[in-house]
């Protein structure tokens, strides 16, 4: 299944870019739900005193920016996955390489691409590795992310 023609077509191709507007309320909501308490994520004066444009997003927020930029993850749509695959899919790994800080008021341009597909356990597990790049309105790169999704084969084949 991992060698389906449509999957092979996607490899190395960058998907159409998406936009995400970073809002103060969303940063505060995300930060509070994680349990993070640093004022630079809540208070504009504290963030600016620390040298930021505005309140700054915590380190894993960029993944939420990707998730929030469209109804479904771009790669999920590109792979043509529906409820069937989503029910058999797990988030396996996630990496962030940080560039410029993400601050409230930023407008992020997000491009995702499928980088690699491989299998383990005789095809029972298929791994999809994506790479995402994000730039802000100043054309600064804010983050590069890599995500690994693990698709389990259907139980009945």
């Amino acid at each position: 299944m991992s060698r389906d023609p449509e999957y092979a077509d996607l490899l190395g191709r960058t998907l159409p870019p998406l936009t995400y507007e970073v809002e103060k309320g969303q940063i505060r909501f995300y930060t509070r739900t994680l349990g993070e308490v640093d004022l630079i994520h809540f208070d504009e004066a504290a963030a600016q005193a620390a040298g930021y444009r505005s309140i700054v997003a915590p380190p894993t927020f960029a993944f939420s920016a990707l998730r929030g930029s469209a109804e479904q993850m771009p790669i999920v749509d590109a792979l043509g996955w529906g409820d069937d695959q989503l029910g058999r899919c797990l988030h396996g790994e996630q990496t962030f390489r940080y560039g410029a800080p993400i601050c409230a008021g930023d407008v992020l341009t997000i491009t995702e691409g499928l980088e690699r597909i491989y299998q383990k356990r005789g095809g029972a597990l298929t791994f999809f590795v994506t790479r995402t790049r994000m730039f802000n309105q100043l054309a600064e790169e804010v983050v590069q992310m890599s995500m690994t999704l693990i698709l389990q084969a259907r139980a009945n084949g």
């Binding site: 004022l39 396996g92 962030f96």
Partner: protein, 134 residues
């Protein structure tokens, strides 16, 4: 923030353990809204049961966000170079997460911390690494 400069960590040094109370359904509902990830497997027990599962599970990114937080609480005000996580096992409602870490490298500019997240029932649910620019 005005905090005094603290001594840079050394290789082999252990990070203070960061512990969270048991995860509640409310937290998963809030994280769905906060993270834009409203996949039903995290928030809708009817959906999970119709699909043959027992109960909802936590978002991997909620666990990763807390794992990385252990480092930013220990070394506040520093820029992070990178973070990564391997999601090893599901995290359930009621799991109390503990994050431990050890410094594996401390070169001039950067501190590398290897991390592990375990639950109250001693399951290792996530491992990862954060590199801090000191």
């Amino acid at each position: 923030m005005g905090e005094p400069v603290s001594k840079r960590p050394e290789a082999g040094e252990h990070m203070p353990v960061l512990r969270f109370p048991p995860i509640s359904r409310t937290e998963l509902a809030l994280f769905a809204g906060a993270s834009h990830d409203h996949t039903p497997i995290h928030i809708d027990i009817d959906y999970v049961r119709a699909a043959g599962g027992d109960d909802v599970i936590a978002h991997g990114m909620l666990v990763m966000g807390r794992m990385v937080q252990a480092v930013t609480r220990w070394r506040p005000g520093r820029r992070l170079v990178s973070s990564r996580a391997r999601f090893l096992d599901v995290v359930n409602v009621g799991d109390a997460l503990s994050i431990t870490g050890v410094v594996t490298a401390a070169d001039e500019g950067e501190t590398c911390v290897e991390l592990a997240v375990t639950t109250g029932d001693a399951r290792r649910v996530m491992t990862g690494q954060v590199i801090v620019a000191e």
